[in-house]
């Protein structure tokens, strides 16, 4: 038998991992170049030129990038602060157990829950009304579907903070960072310097790959911005799904162009970090 069981299994694995991606990519690329699709009439670069001339597409791209950057930075900083607080505590303190709660939420459920916490008619607004801080719905600051994406950022932090906090805490313990921290303090470092120059860099370096993976995850987030985001600018995933599923047939190739662009970017970033990084990253 030329192909042993092992080879069949490995081939099946490679095919499951890559074939659907390749099929989807080829179809979207073909559509974006005018090769496939009922409305297309042959090879053209027009759709790509339209995409890059589109202010909407650029704003979506930049918005997604900024949202990812701010989300992952907030998560890292808060997880760093919490790990600093948890590292000297017993492993299963009440606060740590409490931090497991966000892990129960699917992104849809988290988006929904936070919408009814933060919206002008939500719980916080009603509490502020009851306390006499605001008069009505309009006087409460907008935190959902808002210009600063406060709701989206909060939910991102809510969903991912526990994971990073637990990993950071476990790692800080195993690296004995608390002792190093004490040493740095005794040598004259301030608490802020210890945190920004010792604690965070050590943990970030250790979890570089995981941070990249979560950044990629934030770039692909869909449900949360769909619930809590604005209609413009919107994240890439919402942009793509709108272009591909809405009624304007002219926009479908643009959706495919963006899908190709997005998946190519993810592929390049992932390949760079997965295959170039030495195993010490782990």
């Amino acid at each position: 038998m030329i192909l042993g069981r092992k080879n069949i299994v490995l081939t099946a694995f490679v095919l499951i991992c890559l074939l659907p991606l390749l099929m989807g990519f080829v179809y979207s690329l073909g559509y974006s170049l005018g090769v496939f699709g009922l409305m297309n009439e042959g090879f053209t670069l027009d759709h790509w030129l339209r995409l890059f001339a589109s202010k909407d597409a650029w704003s979506s791209l930049i918005y997604t990038f900024l949202l990812t950057l701010v989300s992952i930075t907030l998560v890292i900083v808060f997880a760093g602060l919490l790990s600093r607080a948890f590292v000297s505590k017993p492993e299963r303190s009440f606060t740590q157990k409490l931090l497991l709660l966000p892990l129960l939420f699917a992104p849809v459920a988290a988006g929904f829950a936070w919408y009814y916490v933060l919206s002008p008619a939500g719980i916080l607004s009603r509490i502020s009304h009851a306390l006499g801080l605001t008069e009505d719905i309009t006087s409460f600051p907008r935190m959902v579907n808002d210009d600063w994406s406060i709701g989206i950022l909060l939910v991102h932090v809510f969903l991912v903070l526990p994971i990073f906090t637990f990993l950071f805490t476990a790692q800080a313990k195993s690296m004995n960072l608390l002792e190093m921290n004490k040493l740095a303090t005794s040598l004259g470092s301030s608490r802020l310097q210890c945190f920004t120059k010792l604690w965070l860099p050590a943990l970030v370096k250790r979890f570089k790959l995981l941070i990249v993976l979560y950044a990629v995850f934030f770039m692909g987030t869909y449900e949360v911005p769909l619930i809590l985001g604005q209609s413009s600018p919107r994240v890439l995933t919402v942009f793509i799904s709108e272009k591909l599923t809405m009624f304007s047939l002219d926009d479908i190739p643009l959706g495919h162009c963006m899908a190709v662009f997005y998946s190519a970017c993810i592929f390049i970033v992932l390949s760079f970090f997965l295959y170039r990084q030495k195993s010490t990253a782990s």
Partner: protein, 274 residues
Amino acid sequence: MMKLGKSTLALFVLLPLLCVIYLSVVSAWTYPLLFDAEFSLKHYLVLFSGESELAWSFVQSVLLSLVMATLGLLFGFFVAKEIAFSKYGSRLLKLAFYPYMIAPVVLGSMLQFYFVRWGLSASFFGVMLAQCLFILPYAVLIMSSFWSENILQLFKLGQSLGGDAKTVKRTLLYPLAKPWMLLTFAQCFLISWFEYGITQVLGIGKVKTLSVISMQFLKEANPHPAAVAAVLMIVPVLLTFIILYRWQNKAQGNWSAIAPINNSLSHHPKKVGA
């Protein structure tokens, strides 16, 4: 300062949960009512009426997630073994990240043409197949951390002491793999349970899992049934979590194995580079 921090953290994690539970047991929660809205269990009672879309959606979600978890476990267990002992194991294993890191909604949009053409769109089987595309590779990622040279040596030792392959598997291999199998099953269940994007795109809204129906209620500005759907999504996760937590307590006392349980990003890069 410390107390303020703890209270803020407690509020941050508790508020959404309390909000969802509260919304599911009241009706007519008009502004500016805070906690004095009319208490009602009618949104839950509808579940038992026999015609409830939500109840059917719950059953469908449980079925889908159980099937996906079982498939993930079987696929992960056997494929991870072959990969672990392959010459190109670590390189091959990294391939599992690719389908997982592309947003499911984008992957679904790119594959929609094929699903429509093959008649898989808007069907339970189609959604299942679509979820397989990223759940199966992910299961391999988790299970690969079990298969090591040490396990292989133990297996050989068992055989050299007189056990046949079947007995060694039953008495040594499976008990050793049990925690990983449990973790893989739970994680695959949760990924499927949490999934919205690809289910919506390829199910075209006809395969109504809990996340799909929850979003539908939300779009209709119907918060009370949406809250019931959210509670139904949270309870099974809570049960899974308690089981994992207890097992974790017994096994290692280490958080990291159950920590990455959420939003389907639970792979441990530790295992990949190794």
